[in-house]
């Protein structure tokens, strides 16, 4: 399960490469707070909801610049998932 919901990396001014990656079965939320946020003008803040980080470079994803958010989902027929994410026997 991937969770992606980030501001477009093209907008990021901080070096996030070491901070963010995709992790199987983890959640990820990254957000940049710049001049439009309560952090104040010019202040940059990056937060995410998981400490699990892999080395995949977010910039390599080449997220089209017109997008602000990405949400992912998938369905696997033979894998019985309950809503909490636990596998059924």
């Amino acid at each position: 399960m991937n969770k992606l919901h980030w501001k477009n990396p093209g907008d990021l001014k901080t070096n996030i490469d070491q901070l963010i990656g995709f992790v199987e079965n983890s959640t990820l939320r990254s957000e940049l707070s710049g001049s439009k946020t309560k952090g104040g003008e010019g202040e940059e803040k990056l937060s995410h909801s998981t400490s699990k980080v892999e080395d995949q470079n977010l910039k390599l994803l080449k997220m089209p610049s017109k997008y602000a958010t990405i949400l992912t989902c998938s369905f696997e027929k033979d894998q019985k998932m309950v809503l909490g994410g636990k596998l059924l026997p």
Binding site: K3, K62, M63, T72, C73, F75, M81, L83
Partner: protein, 224 residues
Amino acid sequence: MEIKEISYGEFPDIFGLNKRFKPGGKKLKVVLDVFMPEGKKKADFSSVYRKLLKLLPTLERHKCGENLFKDLKNHHELSSEKVEEITHIAHLVEHVIIDLQSNITKMDSCSGITCGYKNPEHRFDLFIECRDEEVGRFSSFFAANLVKRLLLGKNPVKGDFRIIELVKYLRGQMPLAQKNELVSLESKVASDFGWTKRSVVSLFKELKNFGLWDSRALPNLPTL
């Protein structure tokens, strides 16, 4: 909620955005504008989800990056922030499309992404792995129409169940793209399902409205 455009292809630019996308697989791209239904300040996602489960029970098997369904099953409402809410609606539509076409075309797995535009904020691109373009198109229009009705507080109707059943049946008969002899099929469908000929004619008309046999034009669905 309105589907602005549907296209079909590989879309290599977005391949890396979901690591579950299968290499070389074709996808459906649905451009969707989402607005809160008129007169509704806040969507009752929990209610919508429970209604959807009656029609599409395999929704429970979906993996959702946003844990959307976990919250809904626990009767937790989602963010009421305007932009978040329409994002959840778009994502819910994507789940419904995935579930419909996965069941109709018997896909073992199907992944997708919901991409929210910077501007306009109400616009989304849904990219969904798709084996059969025509079924994908039908699933998209049906899903958007269904979710819209449920957000307005309506319930799934008997026709919804029948349409899904009918599309599965028709796809098993022959490729949907060759359905140019529908009239001859109507009696057989009525006989096989035990439905009246009149109801079958009505269902076929609805299927046409959902764009099942016309891959070019956008269906002219009633405004809800």
